[in-house]
C-alpha cells in the first residue's frame, strides 16, 4: 500500500519520461519472473516459452483496444479489462499446454515450451487480422484525468500489478498448494503415493504462471504502441524471465523480485550506455556465472551469509 502511494506521489511530481519507460520494463519483468517462478521454481518445470504467453496477452489486449475503443469513454476501466482478457487467454493457452504436456518431464517439457513460442510467432505472422509481419499500431489515449501523461498512469498501474504478482506468489508459496508443488518438484511419483493431487497441481501451476505472463503482456501494447510478432513473442523475453529468477533464487518469492529489479536495472543501464545487444550479453554472462558459482541465487547467498553470521 505504502509502495503504491509512494509511486502515486512520484507520478504527480516527477515528469522525466525516460525513467518511466525504464521503470515500466523493470516492473514488467517483476511480473514475468514471478509468473515464471511459479512453474519453473516452485514446481520445477523449466519454461522457455514465456514469450508465447506474453505475446498472446499482448495481442489479445491490442485487438481489444482496436476493436472496442473503450479507451476514450472509460479510460480507467479499459486497463483492467485488458488485463483480465490478456490473462484469461494466456491462461487458456496454459491449460492447453498443461494438458498436452501432462506426462512430459524435464528437458522434454522445456523443449515443448520452446516449440510453443515458435508456433505462436508463425501463427501471428500468418494471420492478417493480427497485423501479420507488418505489425499493429496502437494509439495511446492522449489524456487521462489526474495524470500529466499516459505513461505515468501506466507506470502506476504496473506498480500495482507487480505488488499483486509478488503477493500472489508469496501466498502460493506459503499455502498447501506451494507445499504440494514442491513435492511435485522433488519426486512426482512419491507425491502421487502420498496423496498429493499431482495432475491438478501441475495444471494449476501452468495456468497461474501463464496468467501472470499474459497480464504482463496485456500492458505491453500501450507501452510500445507498435506490436510486431518477432520482437513481442521473442526469445529475449523467455530468456530474461528465466534468468531473473535463477539469478535471484528460485526457492522463494524474493528471488525473482531481487533478480528482476537488479537485472532489469543493469540491463537498462547497459541499454543506454552500451547497446541493446550488449544488454542481453550482460544477462547471459551473469546467468552462466550464477549457475556455476551460486546455484541457489542471490537469496541463497544471502541465507548462507546470515547462517555464517549466527555461527
Amino acid at each position: 500500500m505504502l509502495l503504491f502511494l509512494g509511486a502515486f506521489l512520484i507520478t504527480q511530481n516527477f515528469h522525466n519520461q525516460y525513467y518511466y519507460l525504464a521503470a515500466f520494463t523493470v516492473l514488467q519483468y517483476i511480473i514475468l519472473s514471478q509468473g515464471w517462478n511459479i512453474l519453473g521454481g516452485y514446481t520445477g518445470y523449466v519454461n522457455f516459452g514465456t514469450g508465447a504467453f506474453f505475446g498472446v496477452g499482448a495481442y489479445t489486449s491490442a485487438m481489444i483496444v482496436k476493436t472496442f475503443k473503450i479507451g476514450k469513454s472509460a479510460p480507467f476501466l479499459e486497463l483492467p479489462i485488458l488485463f483480465i482478457a490478456g490473462g484469461l487467454v494466456a491462461a487458456l493457452l496454459g491449460l492447453g499446454l498443461g494438458y498436452l504436456t501432462m506426462r512430459i518431464k524435464g528437458i522434454y517439457f522445456s523443449i515443448s515450451t520452446l516449440a510453443l513460442a515458435f508456433v505462436t510467432v508463425t501463427i501471428i505472422l500468418n494471420i492478417d487480422a493480427l497485423g501479420g509481419a507488418t505489425g499493429l499500431y496502437i494509439i495511446r489515449p492522449r489524456k487521462i484525468p489526474f495524470f500529466t501523461n499516459y505513461m505515468e498512469f501506466l507506470f502506476l498501474v504496473m506498480v500495482a500489478l507487480s505488488i499483486f504478482a509478488v503477493a500472489f506468489a508469496r501466498y502460493i508459496e506459503n499455502s498447501w498448494i506451494g507445499r504440494g508443488l514442491s513435492a511435485v518438484r522433488d519426486d512426482e511419483d512419491a507425491a502421487e503415493c502420498t496423496g498429493v493431487p499431482v495432475l491438478k497441481l501441475k495444471v494449476f501451476a501452468t495456468m497461474a504462471s501463464s496468467t501472470l505472463m499474459g497480464v504482463a503482456g496485456a500492458a505491453y501494447p500501450y507501452f510500445v504502441t507498435f506490436l510486431e510478432p518477432i520482437s513481442t513473442v521473442s526469445l529475449d523475453v523467455g530468456v530474461n524471465s528465466l534468468a531473473m529468477p535463477l539469478i535471484g533464487g528460485t526457492s522463494t518469492w524474493a528471488g525473482p523480485l531481487v533478480g528482476a529489479v537488479l537485472l532489469g536495472i543493469i540491463q537498462q543501464i547497459a541499454l543506454v550506455t552500451l547497446s541493446p545487444e550488449y544488454s542481453l550479453l550482460v544477462i547471459g554472462i551473469l546467468l552462466v556465472s550464477f549457475v556455476i558459482l551460486a546455484p541457489e541465487g542471490i537469496v541463497g547467498l544471502f541465507r548462507k551469509f546470515r547462517a555464517s553470521l549466527k555461527k
Binding site: 507445499r179 513435492a183 519426486d187 502421487e192 496423496g195
Partner: protein
C-alpha cells in the same frame, strides 16, 4: 506384462497381514494396484467402511488416500530436497489430515524422537534407518485407517529392522490401524503379523496363520531356498 494372475486376499479391521514372497513375484505390484497407481486389467478391490462397499478400481491415488488408505512405498520415496518437517506436512495433504496435523505431528515425534531432533534437516541427508522412520511417519500423518507397507526392511541392519517392526506394532495398536505389509524378511515379519499369504509368480500359493506360516513347506522351498 501380466504380473498378477490369481490373487485374492482379504483383511479385516485391526489385523496385521503380511504378504511374503521373493523378488519379482508381484508384491509391490499388488500394493500399487490397491493404491490406484497401476490399473488392473480385471478384478475388484473392495473397501468397506461403515457398512458401505466401495470398489477402488479406477480411482485415483489421491482419492484412495482420501478414504484413509496410505502406502509406505518401497525404497521409502521421500522428498530428499525437503526437510523432515516438510516431508511430514506433505503426508498430511488430504483435507481430513490437515485438521489433525498438530496431533499427528507430535505423535510421530513421540514414536520417533530422532525425527523431532532433525526436523529442519534435509530428508535426503539422513541415514537409511532414519529415512525409513520418516517414510512411516509421513504415512501416519495422513491419519490412515489402512496402512500398506512395502518392504520396510530393505537395506537396513537387522537391529534396525527389529526396532522398526516394534514401532509398526506400537503404532498399529495406538492408532487402531489395519496393516498390510510385504516382506522378504520372513522371521522379522511373522513376529508382528496375525496372518499371512505367500505369493509365488503372481499367485497366492498359501494362506495361513502366523504359526502355520512358520512350519510351512512352501516357505522352506520357495522362500528359504532349501
Amino acid at each position: 506384462m501380466k504380473v498378477l494372475h490369481d490373487v485374492s486376499i482379504e483383511m479385516t479391521e485391526g489385523e496385521t497381514v503380511i504378504l511374503l514372497g521373493t523378488n519379482g513375484n508381484g508384491k509391490s505390484t499388488l500394493i500399487k494396484t490397491i493404491m490406484g497407481i497401476v490399473p488392473p486389467n480385471q478384478g475388484e478391490i473392495i473397501f468397506e467402511s461403515e457398512g458401505v462397499q466401495i470398489n477402488l478400481v479406477g480411482k485415483k491415488p489421491q482419492e484412495i488416500v482420501n478414504m484413509g488408505i496410505t502406502m509406505v512405498p518401497e525404497g521409502r520415496r521421500l522428498f530428499p530436497q525437503l526437510t523432515v518437517e516438510e516431508n511430514l506436512y506433505l503426508g498430511a495433504f488430504r483435507r481430513e489430515a490437515r485438521q489433525n496435523l498438530e496431533r499427528n505431528l507430535s505423535y510421530c515425534f513421540e514414536v520417533f524422537p530422532r525425527l523431532g531432533e532433525r526436523r529442519t534437516q534435509l530428508a535426503g541427508s539422513m541415514s537409511g534407518g532414519e529415512q525409513q522412520m520418516l517414510a512411516l511417519a509421513r504415512a501416519i500423518m495422513s491419519s490412515p485407517k489402512i496402512l500398506l507397507i512395502d518392504e520396510p526392511s530393505v537395506g537396513l541392519a537387522p537391529i534396525l529392522v527389529s526396532q522398526l517392526m516394534t514401532s509398526i506394532k506400537e503404532m498399529k495398536e495406538n492408532l487402531n490401524l489395519t496393516v498390510l505389509m510385504t516382506e522378504q524378511n520372513f522371521s522379522q515379519a511373522t513376529k508382528i503379523a496375525d496372518r499371512g499369504y505367500i505369493i509365488v509368480h503372481g499367485k497366492i500359493e498359501f494362506r495361513g496363520s502366523n504359526v502355520e506360516l512358520s512350519g510351512n513347506e512352501l516357505v522352506k522351498q520357495y522362500y528359504l531356498g532349501t
